[in-house]
Symmetry: C2
Subunit: 233 residues, 2 copies
Amino acid sequence: MTEPNAPYDPLHCDGSNGTLNNPVSPDGRVDPEERHTIPAREGRAVHLNKGDRLFILNEKGHQVCDFFALLPDTPAEMLSMEHTCTALGHIYVGIGDTLVTNRRRPLIEIVEDTSPGTHDILIACCDQPRYAQLGHEGYHDNCADNFRMALQAIGIEPVHVPSPFNIWMNIPVAEDGAFQWTPPDSKAGDHIALEAKETCICVMSACPQDMTPVNGIDTEPTHLVFWIERTAT
Amino acid sequence: MTEPNAPYDPLHCDGSNGTLNNPVSPDGRVDPEERHTIPAREGRAVHLNKGDRLFILNEKGHQVCDFFALLPDTPAEMLSMEHTCTALGHIYVGIGDTLVTNRRRPLIEIVEDTSPGTHDILIACCDQPRYAQLGHEGYHDNCADNFRMALQAIGIEPVHVPSPFNIWMNIPVAEDGAFQWTPPDSKAGDHIALEAKETCICVMSACPQDMTPVNGIDTEPTHLVFWIERTAT
């Protein structure tokens, strides 16, 4: 495991899990309608053509999905929550909203959502230093490493770990700006569908956070399921 | 000027201004107490030793300062607003709050603030695509390029343009999550003081935004002044 004060390299993982050696395919391409499981605490990358829709299923209902996207030929251009804030003029997102990149390019539109629509775009993904600060000893699976490994598994080297679209993460912000980490209000079987406005690589991490209630109370982090629908030919 | 759809390179500026050729010194070091001006629409980088205090003066009162910081030997480790949100548990910052890096390392503490304390940590810095979307034709000075140029002027190559600490930017977030771009509530002569918890490079950009009211109404973007105080020997 990496020393806590080692020089930071965005490519370098603090540890490892099954994400690194189990890509959905060598380049992240999948067949339409084919269902794929993201095991609990792991991540997967998937290639979407422009117009494809990505469906993410919250089978157990209490599982957060840390979601990232970037351009396959220019991985420095990434989905960016801070640019999305500016584009939308609000800190919550819902059906019909389009998330943009760090070049302000529309990339991901939320087109379906059967949950109450509670998601977060403000909070960094979990990482090894976060678990160390929460008191965990040794390596803890984390969404930052899942992001790195899922991309490395299909041959892409990210230059940075961006802030994620935290699907189903329930971070209510009070009027004074204070917020809490609370359990998802999604239910078993909820899904969200995201449409690619450009060809892109999406990364999903089944968040392994088990030291705050973001993946439910008295529950363990669990798996997610995804598939794509191809609308363009 | 860069084509709007050129592949994105975080090092590449979309245009240029005086920031690139006017560093405070070749390595960003300055003498304590010596006052430096950041001309309107430009940026400057300054080296702080651990324990140094950086004073930023809002001489005219209506000028936003986009603020960034990173580690000199590991420029990929940067002040990160999304990690700061998690560290603080709120979306507003004030005296006594410490901003952290993307490795969750405490880096910048707000130690003085004579303004009402209205600052933003949610919104991306302005960039060429932002001004293009607002309807500007041709190159517009912007904080992303000022960040790049201020660092390049002292020999540092950033791997990413992070989201800034927007000092004096007034973005009130309503209970439903919607926000507005409104003028600063700071007054002429206000200053803020930031203490370096680690040796770091700070970048300040006198935000050139003149197409929304963030730098005031019926005002032009103007200069800022800064100096450092050395508490350690």
